[in-house]
Symmetry: C2
Subunit: 751 residues, 2 copies
């Protein structure tokens, strides 16, 4: 082929938007066809501003010293971040809240019997990684919101310390009443462990990192490798974020200086018993001296011992004292006011506080968000301005219990309910695959936006890569190779107050799965560690900025807020199918087990020397009437299709709408998510108002979809489950009505 | 109730046979209805003779010194056993074979790089357990039939050393060519490990016991507990019993003094590369010094290290020299001649040789068989005599490769093909649940016989207890609570020559699953150990004698040999379904994987830093025509039903048969199993002639049903699989024809 003949082709290519994947829908949800090209050009310009070197410089700077809530460097960092946002053209400020917060004064753990052992409770510094040597500035290993206390008792090993672990103990006739439990990390949010232990009568709780779960059982440990060594400790909060995140003395209201505070004794989310995290070097001597029954197979970790349950003869003395006081949390909040729809807010956030330096957690996400915000600022300098208002937030006090974001959300609840269209969260980030969770009505937007972002290592879109990983691991077929579902949101990061307390459509985005190891919440989570193991070169930090940046820019610019409801409808069908099948499975299992009990099969099959308690007959699972939910699903489905048809016809109708009309429509659409909440909140935890997604009361991080129904089923509370079905159905029906309203408004326009 | 009124009831109860389970079929397969009560009375009398104290005394005596093949005490024990059988009225003799057998002269294992380490290779004695102190009499830890050799090379960790493990290594670009491999025990017969290693070019093989698989990862270790400690070593043969068990120089013929022997270089079953078993105390220093990639998750054991694959830097020097010579094996064979059908043999066997003392393996089974034989002898003293001939066998040289039994079977093959009706094997035994494997035509017999045996701990029948265990573990419904299927037989004990070489219907019986721990093939398998952990009081030794004794007595006395073919038909349907589904699953998996390869999904999903070799497209699985097997199944089904109707009508017909006619019928029935063999044997291993059950070529112990078809599928050799389908079908059709012949003979009688 001659050179001359190449020119026209090159010319055409140059004019095209950045390449999407073959076969991909080139239209953009929320945009008229004629606007899509312009939007993609804007995003291409946005990309050109992104610099990995900025991420690197900021992470280095922000992680140079320990920067936990209340530390001097935390304040310096907040001011640094504030200055950046101002420099990039944002109307930025620091909002300060006063948080009731404990820091350790006395931490003593020792084995008194059968052999004395004093726990080390100290992470040795690493040569050449100066932040690990800043002992005086950093908090030692502890669990925030453990009470003060001094207890001495025999130890019992409780596996992960979740309810079914205590069922196994009970089968073996083991009670933790009056004992200290030792649980390994994993299986739930760590704050669930002392909660459940106390429910069973335990008086103290140790939480250790078993080498199986993230130490030498997974890979080489620090300093040679990326995994946690025997000294490394996972600090962390044990505030009960499943009841309510945020400052424990000001639930539901912003913890401003003048806020009305609960008496400490009335706070409902403080851990009930003294709790301390330890590394496996400290756990091994204790676990080695436990006798009694051998732990069930799935309970055993990678320590070179036979795991026994106890109680004792290992006896432990635990003494904890904290300095409880109000400390300031500094949220940096930066506004970029929208052009025509300034009262519609697209909110973007990542926390800034770490447990020590916090390079991976949270700075890897924060510096990506900062670069995204800076690039948006660069666009503004070229004369562009978003149609809707952007709000960038660098939260403080996420680590102690999602506090900085929660206080801000509670403080501004009324305004947020009115104006907040979407909240987009990030947190830790690393090399690997895109993960995205959130409101299913944003699924199409995320697929389209991420479908336009190239994976740095392979060159395919980040959606295609994530889908390929799922498929090659035997994941569900039926998803196209370039589509993925958003996962449902539980808790564990700053989306929780936006999404579950106020019903603001939310997203949580990250890359990961290829960065090796993990030393989160220890002194070893440093810049040196991150750049060696997690995302060397910050390529995935940039990929995250491209992905979340695109989502922000599309949310900011779309003609109509880019929600899409057939994906929402499909998600609701999956959830309803799950709870229906859960009831059916429980019914079949109960019938089978009761029948076997009647036949004496468990008695006969039991090893008489093992003396396991035999299962007892359970109340049969009654027939539950799910028809209300089925009807609501039909309404959602109809509304989603109707809205799709309406908006599909609209761009081609040639008629335009006034800005006011668009705003009215936008408001119906983005406030529809509020219809999924109920003011009285969930049982046991009224702070959680979203009736489709909530963190499990006994999982903490992972989600329970349709939680009212699902958790009632899991509790075998059939009457409550039946009562919750029409309530969930009502919530879905109200949502459908909002979508219908939006569709009708469109139809009115295009007729 | 007055005393007087009780008397009649007691009288009736005294006349009743031992209680069966409610609802159980009280008829006995092979017996006329009128005979069943008499048979059960015989069995009740048999039970009264059984004494746990005999089992205890014999085990103590037989395990008092090391008694491996070729040892002085082995000969003494054979003579002791012989004397017992003679005293009990048996026509007993010792048959001696000359076995080519290596004993260790030099065993040296050391790490030369990166740090020197000399392996211990020694099990310390236990105080108070004298047999563990008899070093000079016992064989040290070694793998029998490893070649002599001296090799030095880098080490590679190969997990269990089965073919799919080498596929995983290849994905990671790791070759074992010129290396020494270290494999953990498990996943296959140990002899498969050096075989597969050598196929991949390895020059040496270490096999170690990971603590995960039977050491502290499972429970407390010796001497406090029942599990293997770091010094304990599993000795064992690496003779290729999947090609042919027995003396390696006399395949197919008895290894008598004058037998023609192969040149050693022509023996096909010797291990190809120097192989040595070690304990985890010796494995840990080596594995700790392996670097390179981290082992896949499922490969990791319970040692306190990150498991790496190597090769190296750990470099190992292994030197092995053996004393190769012919040693005598002493099979004790004891006949109790039958009354009218003396040419129909019911053969009962258990091996007597151990690796050291061999208390659990094999004496726990042997002493039970001895007590069974003694009780039968007591019945004879009361004037009773079996209708068919009983043959009790105490095999030598099972441990080195199922040699004693194989040589006897090969030596007497012609007579056995003619006369052997059934072989019933036992081996190790312990507290717990009945396991039974074997010819499905004996399934009804085993269910009935074991259904009349009470579990010592619970009082229900041992069948009901085994079924309850299966059901409470989520096992298949559909089995009644008092029925269980016989499992198919692979290899690993003395049934193999009877069943798979000659086509003699066989059973393998044991109790187990509740005895804790296991130190098999080490010096710690002693009387003290067994009576502490495995079956204190020998209750389950007695239960085994009751179970196998009943089966023997029913086989000896039945009017017609007690085969039943609807269970056989059902088993064949299961097997055919399995291979058909295997082909279907492989087809679907191949299609899916090829499609994902075409889409580039594996390439895109791979971590580029991991550099895993991507899967390559595989030849699609063609449609295979299983109709020949389906047709054969229909024939089996028809024949089984026809035979059932015929024999069902027979006892009620009132007509009797002459003994000669019964013998003719018996012969058709018990020789029917021969129809499942083919003279040319299986591909790669002509010694194995049974076409329904064989040990897997790459599993060794566990079975491959319909092995011609199944192993061809597993090898992705579609042409061979298709070729094997009509062959397997032909074998089944020939079996059906024999059953038809038997049914016709009955029909002739009853018309």
């Amino acid at each position: 082929m001659s050179f001359a003949r190449l020119i026209p082709a090159l010319f055409i290519l140059a004019l095209l938007p950045p390449p999407g994947e073959p076969g991909q829908d080139r239209g953009l949800v929320g945009f008229r066809e004629t606007q899509a090209r312009g939007q993609r050009q804007l995003e291409a310009r946005f990309d050109t501003f992104l610099r990995a070197s900025n991420l690197e410089a900021w992470m280095k700077r922000l992680s140079a010293r320990p920067q936990h809530l209340g530390s001097p460097y935390r304040k310096e960092n907040a001011e640094f971040i504030l200055a950046q946002f101002k420099a990039w053209g944002y109307d930025a400020r620091i909002e300060t809240f006063e948080i009731y917060y404990p820091t350790p004064k006395v931490r003593r753990l020792e084995m008194t019997e059968p052999v004395p052992y004093a726990a080390i409770l100290t992470e040795p510094p690493l040569k050449g990684d100066p932040v690990t040597e800043m002992k005086s500035e950093s908090l030692p290993s502890f669990n925030a919101y453990s009470p003060d206390g001094e207890v001495t008792a025999e130890l019992v090993y409780v596996n992960q310390g979740i309810p079914r672990d205590y069922e196994e103990l009970a089968r073996r006739g083991i009670s933790v009443r009056g004992k200290i439990v030792i649980a390994r990390y994993g299986g739930c949010y760590r704050g669930v462990k002392p909660k459940v232990a106390a429910q069973h009568g335990a008086i103290g709780c140790l939480i250790y990192s078993d080498p199986l779960d993230g130490g030498y059982g997974q890979g080489d440990v620090t300093p040679e490798g990326a995994y946690r060594d025997g000294f490394g400790v996972e600090r962390g909060s044990v505030l009960d974020i499943t009841v309510a995140p945020g400052d424990p003395l000001t639930p539901g209201t912003g913890a401003t200086k003048e806020a009305k505070r609960l008496a400490v004794r009335d706070a409902k989310v403080l851990a009930p018993i003294p709790t301390l995290p330890i590394g496996y070097n400290d756990a091994l001597p204790l676990l080695k001296e436990l006798k009694g029954r051998v732990a069930p197979e799935s309970w055993r970790g990678a320590l070179p011992i036979t795991y026994h349950l106890g109680p004792g003869p290992c006896k432990v003395h635990l003494k904890l004292e904290f300095d409880w006081k109000l400390v300031p949390a500094y949220d940096v909040v930066a506004f970029l006011k929208g052009r025509e729809r300034a009262d519609e807010w697209i909110i973007r956030g990542n926390h800034a506080d770490g447990w020590v330096a916090g390079a991976s957690d949270p700075l890897s996400g924060l510096v990506s968000m900062m670069e995204e915000a800076r690039a948006v600022g660069e666009l503004v300098k070229t004369g562009w301005r978003p149609d809707r208002t952007l709000v960038y937030c660098a939260w403080d006090a996420e680590e102690p219990g999602i506090i900085g974001s929660t206080e801000w959300v509670e403080e501004h609840a009324a305004e947020l309910k009115e104006k907040a269209a979407v909240y987009i969260n990030t947190d830790s980030n690393g090399r690997g695959f895109l993960s995205a969770g959130g409101s299913a009505s944003l699924e199409r937007l995320v697929n389209q936006a991420a479908g336009d972002v190239r994976d740095p290592q392979t060159g395919v879109s980040v959606v295609e890569r994530a889908a390929a990983r799922s498929l090659t691991r035997g994941g569900a077929a039926g998803l196209g190779p370039q589509e993925f579902h958003l996962s449902a949101l539980g808790s564990g990061s700053d989306f929780s107050p936006f999404y579950q307390h106020l019903g603001i459509s939310s997203l949580n985005l990250s890359f990961g799965g290829e960065g090796r190891g993990g030393v989160g919440h220890s002194i070893y989570d440093t810049f040196a560690y991150f750049t060696r193991f997690i995302d060397p070169g910050f390529q995935y930090g940039v990929a995250l900025a491209k992905t979340s940046g695109r989502i922000v820019l599309r949310l900011a610019e779309a003609d109509i807020v880019p929600f899409e409801f057939t994906a929402f409808s499909a998600a609701m069908k999956r959830y309803v199918k799950e709870v229906t099948e859960l009831a059916g499975q429980m019914r079949a299992d109960t019938e089978r087990e009761n029948r076997l009990i009647d036949q004496g099969a468990f008695k006969v099959a039991a090893d008489p020397l093992e003396k396991l308690r035999l299962p007892e007959k359970k109340e049969p699972v009654p027939g539950l009437d799910f028809s209300a939910l089925e009807k609501a699903l039909a309404k959602i489905d109809d509304a989603a299709l109707r809205y799709g048809r309406a908006i599909g016809a609209f761009p081609r109708s040639g008629r335009s709408m006034t800005t006011e009309t668009k705003k009215d429509l936008d408001r119906i659409l983005y406030q529809a998510e509020r219809a999924l909440t109920r003011e009285e909140g969930l049982a046991r935890r009224p702070w959680f108002k979203h009736y489709i997604d909530a963190p499990g009361y006994y999982t903490g991080y992972s989600v329970k979809t349709i939680p009212g129904v699902r958790e009632a089923l899991e509790d075998r509370n059939w009457a409550e489950a039946q009562r919750q079905i029409p309530i969930a159905a009502d919530v879905l029906s109200r949502f459908a009505a909002e979508i219908d309203k939006a569709a009708a408004a469109f139809e009115g326009r295009v007729k």
